[in-house]
Amino acid sequence: MSVSLSGVGLTHANGQVALSGIDLQVGSGERLAIIGPSGAGKTSLLRLLASNLQPSSGQLSLLDQDPWQLGARQRQQLRARIGLIHQAPPLPPRQRVVTAVLAGKLGQWSLGKSLLSLLHPVDMPGAQATLARLDLADKLFERCDQLSGGQLQRVGIARVLYQAPELILADEPVSAMDPVLAGHTLSVLNEEASRRGMTLLASLHAVELALAHFPRIIGVREGRIVFDLPPASISAAQLEALYANEQLQPLPASPATVQTSLQIPRC
């Protein structure tokens, strides 16, 4: 079992409840998408699974280990087997793309190798091959501040693919790309994950992409899992209920716009 949550809740330091009563089992090699409105808790859930946040209640097990029962050293070893793709990849602006990609392996390399790689990249072919999967092979020696948002997101994906973790967590991995590129990048990610037997959990704003690329969909709303179904059995009514927003002022346009606005990738 890659991920196992039972009754997990998360309350932020300011008392705001982000997640409550989450039960989720994800088998090894499974691929699933998390959808839901903004502020539903998708990012909190992924950060919880990356052991970037500590649950305030419930049982959490990642790759059959509870990260919060481990010592700091073992927890770092467990973290090296989990890769988190950030929505806005936190890369230093001055860093070169090749360094940013090779940084994925820092958890597995010895310190000496990591520092040596800073002087001269130790695995340029590996970094280039990973970037080539995402059509970025020509950007190998560019600086990160010269890339667009969509390119930066693909560098972030390349770093995690280069890390080759057993569990990939992706937080809106294609939000800054145009719809065609977003679809292509998601299929590359899915292909790599299933070819190498990695477990993949991705949160997505574009419902169409989630339904098209993932065999299992989880709907999250107000910190709870609303449904956990294969895409074929999700009804339009369920989706509408998931995204219903009573706080928004109704637009003068027809209610059909709600459906189309979901397809626009967020920047």
């Binding site: 602006p93 001055r94 820092l106």
Partner: protein, 275 residues
């Protein structure tokens, strides 16, 4: 009139801080006995004038220039060796004192656990002790311990400057964007690697500029320490002043200007070329 909901909540603290600053300024002026009128006193002005008039013409005979060159090299050597020793203490000290590489901060929203903070305090304390005693006092101490000469200057600079560099480095590490290093720590990276890949790219330019500036300060400090016998240009200035050789003092001050200019240019070159 604005609605009460639109009041800036920062207004009161800012007002209080401004008032506090004004209140603190007045006792500061009285306690330091600042009185600009003495500058315009007839007697004092003519005294200063005579002192300055001695500065011209500059001393430039062959023997003096040779002495000057040697003293300049000695000053540069004291400053550079002192900085190198200081870096040996400052870099590990900064890494230990900084919160930027805290593992416990990763899952606590950037705030390290209390016991981790408590462990940083002894290191911070050591850096404070190192820099709180002025280098001139250390120099006086070491002149007694190792005798007159540059060694005392090198040791004094190494001790004081390691405290300053360590403190400022630690603060630079904390001021750069913490997200890259945290992302690396969450991906299982060891802390030193996360520092090299996540913090250093953002901190390098500022560290470099501060280090070169401190080197410049070390040159100046080595001159002041020369007055107490720690070698270099300072010792020569002291001798020349005692002999009322104003021209020699002026030549040495000009050399000084050239050294500071040099440090400035090195800093600019390194910042544009290397980064």
């Amino acid at each position: 009139m604005l609605k009460p909901a639109l009041h800036d909540p920062a207004v009161l603290p800012r007002l209080a801080l401004t008032l506090l600053a004004l209140l603190l300024l007045w006792p500061g002026l009285t306690l330091s006995e600042l009185n600009l009128a003495v500058l315009f006193d007839e007697q004092n002005a003519s005294n200063m004038g005579r002192f300055l008039a001695d500065f011209w013409p500059l001393a430039h005979d062959r023997e003096f220039l040779q002495l000057l060159g040697q003293a300049t090299l000695e000053t540069l050597a004291i400053a550079t060796a002192g900085m190198a020793l200081a870096l040996l203490i400052a870099i590990p000290g900064a890494l230990l004192a900084s919160r930027a590489l805290s593992l416990s901060a990763v899952h606590r929203g950037g705030r390290p656990a209390w016991w981790a903070q408590a462990l940083r305090w002894p290191v911070r304390g050591l850096l404070i002790v190192l820099r709180s005693v002025p280098e001139i006092v250390w120099a006086l101490l070491f002149v007694r311990a190792v005798g007159l000469g540059p060694t005392a200057g090198v040791l004094a600079i190494a001790i004081t400057y390691s405290g300053m560099l360590g403190k400022v480095y630690a603060e630079i590490f904390e001021s750069v964007d913490p997200r890259p290093s945290r992302a690396l720590l969450v991906a299982g990276s060891p802390r030193l690697a996360a520092f090299a890949y996540g913090v250093l790219p953002g901190a390098a330019a500022e560290m470099l500029s501060y280090t070169v500036y401190r080197w410049e300060c070390a040159i100046r400090a080595s001159v002041v320490m020369g007055f107490v016998g720690a070698g270099g240009l300072g010792q020569q200035i002291d001798l020349s002043m005692r002999m009322f050789a104003g021209g020699e003092v002026a030549s040495m001050l000009l050399t000084f200007l050239a050294l500071v200019l040099l440090a400035d240019q090195i800093s600019r070159l390194l910042r544009t070329r290397l980064l």
